[in-house]
Symmetry: C2
Subunit: 140 residues, 2 copies
DNA sequence: ATAAACTTTTTGACAATGTCAAAAATAAAT
DNA sequence: ATTTATTTTTGACATTGTCAAAAAGTTTAT
């Protein structure tokens, strides 16, 4: 995110210290959870309430400035890589998350044959496994 | 599930009224959440505690008798269709969930090129959209 | 610059979904 | 039948997130 201030303006969102800080934090720590973001922001601007973090994350998500992902057994995570069609690799043990470029192509990358009369708008893919660190821990 | 009792025995699980009832309920109401299952069980055997429902669902999931799915913005759901490689279609509006046969083939159905040193064991796919009912509601 | 109008942030309570630990009840094995 | 092991219940608690009203801040218009 090169210019958080411009990004907010582009979406007609009033500029506040909290919004700038949250936006920067999401950018610097992709896939962080709300409370990790809160901690990061506090170290930079002194303080922010839990509720404000949620407010900001929600409004940024609605406007499409950031993206929310919610893997099983984890609080929601946020990233600022939006607009493309990538997926995620999640560690079953520690929750560590990485991006994976789409194996197929454009969104929705998997055709679901318009099953059951549903109108499908997204195919979400999560690859589950063990990250390198946790593989080592197990074998130890 | 034709014979829940045999299924429990096959997995060396002591047979209890609660386990039989939960197993039957998951079978009859695929994709139900824990509290929906609890309600269903109560109508059949009179009473069961919230904790027992969780205990039973957890042990059945660990043993592979049932499968847990956890779509975003929903409590965990359970199904007794296990061992094959199918995915899910989830309604963004009401949470209604249906099975979708895998578009590709065998599990894990998508190769993730062993990215980033992860050891991948599953590719989970969720198709997001609107179910027929909710499509109608919107246009009304 | 200033004031008015609007939005955001804070504060504090609350809801939903799960888990933990110890006591009571039940099933299985001898 | 009795013992042993497991399960169920009971009640407290943790986490993640939301709701509503008051306080503080930002933007717009004068």
């Amino acid at each position: 995110m090169h210019d958080p201030e411009a990004a907010l303006r582009a979406h007609q969102l009033p500029i506040t210290a909290q919004r700038l800080a949250v936006l920067r934090e999401v950018s610097q720590q992709p896939h962080a959870t709300a409370d990790v973001i809160a901690e990061g922001v506090r170290q930079k601007i002194g303080s922010i309430t839990r509720q404000s973090v949620y407010n900001v994350l929600n409004v940024l998500t609605e406007k499409g400035l950031i993206r929310r992902i919610q893997p099983a057994d984890s609080a929601a995570r946020y990233e600022d890589r939006v607009g493309d069609n990538h997926h995620h690799l999640v560690c079953r043990s520690c929750g560590h998350t990485e991006d994976v470029n789409c194996a197929v192509g454009h969104a929705p990358c998997l055709k679901a044959h318009s099953h059951h009369g549903f109108k499908i708008d997204e195919a979400e893919v999560i690859y589950w496994g063990l990250c390198p660190r946790c593989q080592k821990k197990r074998s130890a």
